[in-house]
Amino acid sequence: MGYFLTLVVMVAVLAVVWRLLGAYMVAVYDGRTRWLAFVERPLYRLLGTDPKVEQTWRRYAVSLIAFSLVSALLTYAILRLQGHLPLNPDHLHGVPPALSFNTAVSFLTNTNWQNYPGETTMSYLSQMTALAVQNFVSASVGMAVAVALIRGLSRKGSSTIGNFWVDLTRGVLYILLPISFLMAIVFVSQGAVQTLAGPAHIHDALNGVSQTIPRGPVASQEVIKQLGTNGGGFFNANAAHPFENPDGLTNLLEILLILSIPVALTYTFGRMVGSVRQGVAVLAAMTLLFGVWLGSTSVAEHAPNPAVAAAGLAHQPGGNMVGKEARFGDTSSALFNVVSTQTSTGSVDSSMDSYNPLGGMGTMTGMMLGEVSPGGVGSGLYTMLCFALLAVFIGGLMVGRTPEYLGKKIQAREVKLAAIAILVMPVTVLVLAGLASVLPAGTSPTLNAGPHGFSEILYAFTSQANNNGSAFAGLSSNTVFYNVLGGLAMLVGRFVIIIPVLALAGALAAKEMVPAGAGTFRTDTALFAGLLVAVVLIVGGLTFFPAVSLGPVVEALSHGRFFG
């Protein structure tokens, strides 16, 4: 009952957020919202950029890469040097090179894959200046790319797609910071920790034990972690930790924070291309995919855990509760993790390794679809728009015209760029998982043998190449092999998609617009939303069917029943 109530509240709140935040973001990226101009203007002076001068896609991409490179180096340096820097109450040492590389790349790419337990690895300074800052800017970069692509679709005969520095600044200043600030206060009110006082030392006289309980500036980081679909927890237990996610309310708020921007961006998209219906069609496709995955995962987790049942250990009236918090229950935990893996968040409130095979498959395959339902902040929309171009290309031919999307002819260059943006992820995942399955460095860190071990490897690369960051656990991935290969997967999964998307934005912006008529393939209908879903499923299905068969499918079949 609570589960369904949660869903109703979630949908109702998101509907309001979709409209209001969506419209606000249009104003922000159009430069009409200026209430923080007194902060904004000095920032531009500092960056040496003229906010009125727009960039070509090449300049935009170069600015983005340059910014990312500086970010990566800065993060890496802070992590390596944290032992010598202030705000280190636990007296932690510098982070080792391979792990620093992996972590810097991870936060830079909005992945937040964590090969380390936060409380015993990162100083407060690292958490606040290296990781939290990246949580803000990496999210803003994703949104900027999405907005650049929208501009490409909505402009005609234009050589520019916006100014990267302006988009980056405005995203952080007007959208991410205000919401994070307000929500952090709500989280603190619910019991999330926010302190610089270092760990608490408790002596339990009754039982005669002393405990050291790690604390830190958690609430402030928790909100942006979800709002920016980053997902990197302050603590190792991530959102299952009561200091991060104290109760049912914060659990629901976290879900809402994760979904807000990706969902609202579809409204922003619709408004900026001049037809909200276009945004609704994209949102409908996202929602359909999300619904199917949520349904199947929730059903799977509501079934008893087959291993527990086989051992005859206990009745399982509450579904599979292995690895789940009693506070949240089976289906709500499934909801949280589906939300987290269908966006590029990766923050989880229950352990995926102990999910039932089909529950685990749900979270893994959700990422394999390219994270478009609704996906990460910005990245979900721009990837979905690439899918839309492919859907239009194939479907458009079937109405007897050379295909066009929003009045833009889709020709060889657009097809090439969209295909790269969509196909680079599966290729990266499969090649790296293939390497890891044969090399001893890849196979030895798996805790389980057979199909489950394979699922762990496959999950790790799927999560990283999709910039998700959730972990299946069961894979001791803090090795040089996994740190380096994972870092590679994250970099490719981020930038080899962003650059083609920006090129696409440039190519589309330069095009003229063909007015729509009765012979035009309409992209604001249920039929198109259905076609879009089909294309996402077919691309994901065709590329991952064999790999998934050998992991979770075999596991599920081994238990004799498909569900449970």
């Binding site: 109405v399 889709i410 097809v415 090439k416 394979f454 035009t520 089909a534 077919i538 499918v553």
Partner: protein, 705 residues
């Protein structure tokens, strides 16, 4: 489009007799099904089928295959399985090798079939292009040279029975020419020096009179040469959409490579192994071979369908653009209306009876052989049962002349005249008669209704007005409704004044019209449509149409037109039938739909192939995966082989569809998409499940395990 309405008097030159200029747009020719240069052939005509089989093997040359990335991968895969079959022979590996090889052969066969149809037509044309001797004029002296030695600017003489040696312009004389070699139309046409009918085509035959022709084409570059190379597909280049689709297909092929290759390491992790033959089989089954094999055949067949309708497209790009056209510029005369005016009413003036007027008009028209004249006789018969009379000796006809702008008849002291209002008015006054006041208002009213008023007078007495109506072709309104449903706007182009144009436009049901059209106005209209992002198609024949034809995205030149027009357009209609523009658009759309449908079908097929092959690959490693063997295929080997056989046979099965094109009914985009998604998407999902199962049953019965 709101110029001052011209008074009807200014329309005088359009008098009946002058309207004989129906050489190129007579209703008879437009409606008649002409004999074709391109003979329609059965889909599997043996004269095409047999050479195509040979071609299919010749095309195995890796250099040819490299142009098609999808099929190239299949060829490489075949070589790999062949090596494996030779090294470790087994019924399975040999069978897979044979069917992979056949997949490539079938793809080549599809292309060869499409090309074969064009080649057969080219051969017919080539037979007609016999090596001609030319009579070249050099400083007034005639000399005999081979036609191939003629170069641009040479003057040649042609007399009855001579084949015109090369393309050129008549600079002297007038002759009737048999152009059936090119158009298939046996009725001779007039070619004369000066004006829009001066172009002659090499290979056509002079029937009467002597003409001097200035050669305008270099040897090997004549219209006939180009026509042959076009139907042969020799100069075929990939069209923009074909290039884009090839990129998508290559990307899919490229992606399936790692998908399949990593199965070996994945199997290794599970302490198993996958035989290379099975991996290659899976790869070939997954990559979009169906569309990859048929893509070029679809393109060639689209051009061929145009040739079947006697339209030559200079490039595949033009055919593709035809599918995208959103505005059609249609000439009124010949396309929308029958091309000549028909008498529709007798409007008497000055107290005369309608029958009296009809009688006089009929008399004046008895000797008038123009369609307008005849239509008056017909109307008189219908209305008042006035029969054709015996031509008595006293009848003296007054033929139409450009000076008088009237025609008529003098008999028994009566002087009956019919003609343009202004001319007849003058004549009546000269005869000492009176012009009734009401005449002007009737003339104006008639002109406003889109008709031509013809005034009839008997001596000094004005009898009344015969209304000549521009007759809109039957069924044209439905065509325009269909076009509107397809999202295509029709614009009527006419030299008429805006009032007349508006009346006809509303009767025919076009979306817009351009009245008093000049070449400049036409050009401006095309430009303004294109600025809005619309693609424009038009027809034209005159030299002054050439700039507009060049500017239009699809410019269809009439074969009767000037060389300049033919050079400027990107299609030539050998029948010179402007209505065909609509067919051309439909063929363009059909071509694109066929491409999209087969791509969808090809990709949808993969689902079933996965269910056939994946369980088979891992039978020993993970017997549990047999649960995915939903088709209950006999054995791992029969499952894989069945998928490969299906994959090969489906190409052959779809060749007719690729050549003929998917059925196209004019409809809105949503209806088309729903229908095609259902047939080729959902159908493509289901069909291979049945197909693979049946093949599995057959090969199992045949003893394959």
């Amino acid at each position: 489009m709101s110029a001052q309405p011209r008074s009807s008097d200014q329309r005088a030159p359009e008098s009946p007799a002058e309207a004989v200029d129906t050489d190129r747009s007579s209703p008879a020719q437009a409606e008649r099904e002409p004999r074709r240069a391109a003979q329609p052939r059965g889909l599997f005509d043996p004269s095409i089928l047999v050479p195509a089989l040979g071609e299919a093997f010749k095309k195995l040359d890796p250099r040819v295959q490299a142009r098609n990335p999808v099929m190239f991968v299949v060829l490489v895969g075949t070589v790999v399985t062949l090596a494996e079959a030779v090294a470790r022979p087994s019924a399975f590996s040999w069978s897979v090798t044979v069917f992979l090889f056949l997949t490539v052969v079938f793809a080549n066969f599809a292309e060869a079939m499409a090309e074969g149809r064009g080649k057969a037509q080219a051969a017919t044309l080539r037979r007609m292009r016999t090596t001609t001797e030319a009579r070249r004029l050099r400083e007034g002296e005639e000399e005999r040279v081979a036609a191939t030695e003629l170069s641009r600017g040479d003057l040649v003489v042609c007399e009855p029975g001579d084949l015109i040696p090369s393309d050129g312009e008549v600079v002297e004389g007038v002759a009737s020419v048999d152009e059936s070699a090119i158009t298939g139309e046996s009725a001779p046409v007039i070619r004369e020096a000066g004006g829009d009918r001066s172009a002659v085509t090499g290979g056509t035959k002079v029937l009467s009179d002597r003409i001097v022709v200035r050669i305008s084409a270099e040897p090997g570059q004549t219209f006939m040469d180009r026509m042959i190379s076009l139907v042969e597909g020799a100069s075929r280049q990939k069209t923009p959409n074909e290039v884009a689709l090839t990129i998508l297909l290559s990307a899919l092929t490229l992606v399936f490579l790692p998908v399949v290759v990593v199965l070996e390491p994945f199997a290794h992790y599970a302490r198993g192994s996958v035989p290379i033959v099975s991996l290659v089989a899976l790869l070939v089954a997954l990559i979009p071979t169906t569309i990859g094999a048929l893509l070029s055949a679809i393109g060639i067949a689209g051009m061929d369908r145009l040739v079947q309708r006697n339209v030559l497209a200079m490039s595949g790009r033009a055919v593709e653009a035809a599918g995208d056209v959103s505005t059609l510029l249609l000439d009124k005369t010949g396309t929308i209306t029958l091309g000549n005016r028909m008498a529709s009413a007798f409007l008497p003036v000055g107290g005369h009876q309608e029958a009296e007027l009809a009688d006089a008009a009929q008399l004046a028209s008895l000797a008038d052989e123009t369609p307008e004249g005849r239509s008056i006789v017909v109307l008189a018969k219908q209305r008042f049962d006035l029969r054709g009379r015996e031509m008595a000796a006293g009848y003296s006809f007054v033929p139409f002349s450009a000076q008088t702008r009237m025609s008529g008849l003098d008999v028994a002291g009566r002087h009956i005249r019919k003609g343009a209002a202004e001319a007849v008015r003058h004549w009546v006054v000269e005869q000492g008669g009176q012009v009734p006041d009401e005449l002007d208002s009737i003339v104006t009213r008639t002109a406003k209704a889109g008709s031509t008023p013809l005034v009839v007078a008997d001596g000094g007495e004005v009898l009344g007005v015969v209304e000549l109506k521009d007759v809109v072709k039957t069924g044209i309104q439905e065509r325009f409704d269909q076009l509107r449903a397809m999202g295509i706007r029709t614009v009527m182009i006419t030299g008429d004044n805006p009032l007349t144009a508006a009346a006809i436009a509303s009767e025919a049901g076009v979306d817009d019209y351009l009245a008093e059209a000049t070449p400049e106005a036409k050009m401006d209209l095309i430009r303004s449509e294109q600025e809005g992002g619309r693609l424009v198609a038009m027809t034209g024949d005159g030299t002054n149409d050439a700039p507009a034809l060049a500017q239009a995205d699809v410019g269809v030149a009439m074969n009767t037109g000037t060389m300049a027009a033919k050079e400027a357009g990107n299609m030539v209609d050998l029948d010179s039938n402007p209505t065909k523009l609509i067919d051309i658009v439909e063929i363009g759309k059909q071509l694109l739909i066929t491409r999209g449908a087969l791509t969808t079908f090809s990709i949808a097929n993969d689902v079933a192939k996965y269910f056939a092959i994946i369980p088979a690959l891992f039978t020993t490693t993970y017997p549990q995966l047999q649960a995915l063997n939903v088709m209950r295929l006999h054995s791992p080997h029969s499952a894989i082989l069945s998928a490969v056989i299906f994959n090969a046979l489906v190409i052959v099965a779809l060749i007719p569809l690729a050549l003929r094109g998917v059925r196209y009914r004019p409809a809105g985009a949503a209806a088309l998409l729903r229908r095609n998604l259902l047939i080729y998407g959902v159908g493509g999902l289901i069909a291979p499940f049945a197909g693979i199962k049946i093949i599995d049953l057959i090969i199992t019965l045949a003893g394959f395990h």
